[in-house]
Amino acid sequence: MRMRHLPSTFAAALLALFAGTAPRPAAAADEYAYDAVHSSIGFKARHLDISWIHGRFNEAEGKFSIDRENPAKSTFALTIKADSVDTANVKRDEHLRQPDYFDTKQFPTIEFKSTSVKPIDGGYEVTGDFTMHGVTKKVTLQLKGGKEHEFKGTKRVAFSTELSLKRSDFGFDKSAIGPIGDEALIFIDCEGMRK
């Protein structure tokens, strides 16, 4: 019984092999959706200029389109829900949502949308519009990574980047900056799942 099925199984395996290795037509860029479970967006800011306060944003969504043959056609977009700020202190988080800081009822999202991409050693240099607190500024990110991995039938790709910015550049009230330093560092480690 088993022997009778062997040729057809073999043929199927051969077909699968050819299907996998045969040159594909010039494919469009691979599109990935932001995987919230395996990604994290953290930040830290100086406190009294002697230490660092760490926090994170728990909710975000985004997508990337990666064109390996023509990286300039790649795109990256990320939307962070400002309301999901989490510094491990509920009262402080409430305070950060208020108009003196993120003003999350007025500016519910922090967004990044790429405008140009170029390959660099170990990743991509991505320039784009970063919008926070209703103010949009051009920023350039060094996206490191880009390795692909297929896990349980889903192709994944991951990037990491760091971004330094001044809150006062984004319309945060200078008088409310107080003991927290003006400069904040944002760390993004994101994994994308191929759609």
Partner: protein, 333 residues
């Protein structure tokens, strides 16, 4: 970080500018048109002088506090200072001009009350975006409810002003604005809490000039709460001169509470208690007549108004000490 010294300076500047400009404009206005010499009789502190004086005082205080923060008013507070307050000044100027047509005045005030809520909520998650929080019906109901509440308080305060003396009501409003500012600051919204302070000071400055003007130059002395007498000479406040100032105060109070509630989490109870606090002056109208007159009557009315303000402040202080103070002193923000 809170800067009490700056708040004090802004308060003093707003009060001074308001009083000085009101007095100056009253003197200028008392001259007859065409540069003729002053007519005999009292100089009048009119509604226009008061409106301009109080507005300028408020603007001066805001300038010192660096409010609004941006000239592209993206936040609700900036929209209040850039659009709603100037609109209120315009409406009160028009209402003063068409004093004979009370319906037109209230139509304008009603329109402002409706527009204010929409302006303050503009661009927020309540009205737009993929995660819009309210439906069109909810938005309409809320804006209408807020407008009705504002107009009701406004009307009741004007009516109280006619009975108890306008200066009593503007003083009550000034006190409520101060209390609201403190309550909002204790809630954690520092910038929003500073905005009512210069308005309170400007109203005090204008009221002071109007009250001084209303004081007769000869005995018997009459207190603020009494009907405004017109002296034979000196400076006098025209009847209902403080109507416009009262309007600015009510719109300022309602707007600040509205935006603090929807954008900074000020509780509904606190917002309602503070908005209705000046109305507690009505209770004095049911006291025996002898308690309602003179300085005693004024003190009684202010005491009644202070009661709900103190209750809100006590609760806010308790919450602040329990929740926020440890954050500032130990864990620190």
């Amino acid at each position: 970080m809170p800067d009490p010294l700056l708040y004090g300076e802004a308060f003093a500047l707003a009060g001074f500018v308001s009083a000085a400009l009101t007095l100056l404009l009253s003197r200028v206005a008392s001259r007859s048109p065409g540069g003729r010499p002053e007519q005999p009789g009292p100089r009048r502190v009119g509604p226009f002088a008061l409106l301009f004086g109080v507005s300028a005082g408020f603007a001066a205080g805001c300038w010192l506090l660096r409010l609004p923060t941006t000239w592209t008013p993206a936040s609700a507070l900036d929209r209040y200072l850039t659009f709603v307050f100037p609109l209120a000044v315009g409406v009160e100027l028009l209402a003063t001009r068409c004093r004979d047509s009370i319906r037109v005045a209230w139509l304008l005030r009603g329109g402002l009350a409706l527009a204010a809520g929409r302006i303050l909520l503009h661009g927020s998650v309540y009205l737009q975006g993929p995660h819009r929080e309210w439906t069109s019906g909810e938005t309409a109901a809320l804006l209408m409810g807020s407008a009705v509440a504002l107009v009701s308080v406004w009307w009741l305060l004007l009516a109280l002003g006619r009975r108890a003396g306008e200066a009593t009501v503007t003083l009550s409003l000034s006190m409520t604005l101060l209390g609201s500012g403190l309550a909002i600051m204790l809630e954690g919204y520092l910038r929003g809490g500073t905005a009512p302070l210069p308005l309170a000071a400007a109203i005090l400055g204008g009221t002071f000039v109007a009250a001084r003007a209303s004081r007769p130059t000869a005995p018997p002395a009459v207190a603020i709460g009494d009907p405004l007498p017109v002296p034979a000479h000196g400076v006098a406040a025209t009847p209902a001169a403080l109507d416009g100032v009262l309007g600015l105060g009510v719109v300022g109070l309602a707007s600040t509470l509205f935006l603090s509630h929807f954008f900074a989490g000020l509780s509904t109870g606190s917002a309602v208690a503070l908005l209705s606090a000046p109305l507690w002056g009505w209770l004095a109208e049911y006291l025996p007549l002898r308690w309602r007159h003179g300085a005693g009557g004024l003190a009684m009315r202010l005491l009644l108004v202070a009661f709900p303000i103190a209750a809100v402040l006590l609760l806010a202080m308790r919450e602040f000490v329990k929740e926020t103070l440890p954050l500032l002193t130990i864990a620190s923000l």
